[in-house]
Subunit: 192 residues, 2 copies
């Protein structure tokens, strides 16, 4: 998606350790106008899918998932990193390793909110190793629901998560795929 | 706001320990159509304010804040519970006690995203003791920006946070104020 690639080139910063900082428009300050355009694109890409629910994981996927769900006219569910005393009842649980935070999270979704009848579109802001996405896929699979597709804002194509999901047959649409980036020069190369 | 009160009465559950569970439409599964109506109401209530930015805190305020920011045509910023290695540079920092999670968080916002010129609308899903809101107010105050108002989905009017903020002169608009609730009977009484 050209608009997103241009924005990454303009406002993104490459940091050592394969970090692409996009906190001025995607995951700290959020440019809702850009998010709206991205949501339009996801809706176009998955127009043939009978989506009943948008699923993401807290926190930085929530803004995009909300606007996508708004445009599709379906509820949005965000999986939670388990720590709340307000969660009770039957839960689907999975574990997600976060390389960013160097820890493992228990991630949950209430059984009430994904049923076998659901057709789920999974949305997230980043895809690198695929840990978060595989956790979300596990939750949907436990629920017996159908995964219609996966929509990602920025995929790090030089890490294995995306290609692994494609090989396993998931319909994965990433709006920008970064195939290479260099913290010394700031260069970013997109896959086309 | 009648629509929200009706929804709380229909789908909310009162639990022991002053817990009002609204996870089927507000903070786990999110009814985006309802959120949209709530955002319309916030926009009406703050229509005379020259808002340049919507501020919330991760995670459950992000959905509402996103839709409000979308309708106002301004960026949304979410304060982060500090744990990420991807945060760097100059940060405003504050501490927030979470009664729900029984711990204290360092909460940060990058100095890049709130400037003295900003007119900020703070949005969150719940207001009880006001710990999260006072942390957000502290961050905006550190930035030297103007707080135009505070928009809350559900205020627990029997806890002191809301009335304390009103006494201090903040323009606080809560779409539903619960003045009493009973975990044994399930009764919920709204302030009007």
């Amino acid at each position: 998606m050209e608009l997103l690639e241009e924005r990454i080139l303009r406002d993104g910063t490459v940091k050592p350790g394969n970090v692409l900082k996009v906190d001025n428009f995607l995951n700290h300050q959020v440019d809702i106008e850009l998010i709206h355009a991205m949501a339009d694109e996801f809706c176009r890409l998955f127009a043939d899918c009978p989506i009943t629910k948008v699923l993401t994981i807290e926190a930085s996927g929530i803004a995009i998932a909300s606007i996508v769900a708004e445009q599709l006219g379906v509820p949005m569910v965000f999986a939670k990193k388990a720590q709340s005393i307000n969660l009770d009842g039957d839960l689907y649980t999975t574990q997600i390793v976060s390389y960013t935070h160097k820890r493992t999270y228990d991630v949950i979704v209430s059984k009430k909110f994904i049923s076998p009848d659901d057709h789920v579109l999974i949305i997230d802001d980043f895809l690198a190793n695929g840990c978060a996405l595989n956790g979300l896929i596990d939750l949907v699979t436990q629920a017996g629901a159908t995964i219609e597709g996966i929509g990602i804002a920025i995929e790090k194509g030089f890490q294995p998560g995306g290609d692994d999901l494609r090989e396993r047959g998931y319909r994965l649409e990433s709006l920008a795929i970064v195939d290479a980036m260099n913290a010394d020069t700031g260069e970013i190369v997109f896959r086309h």
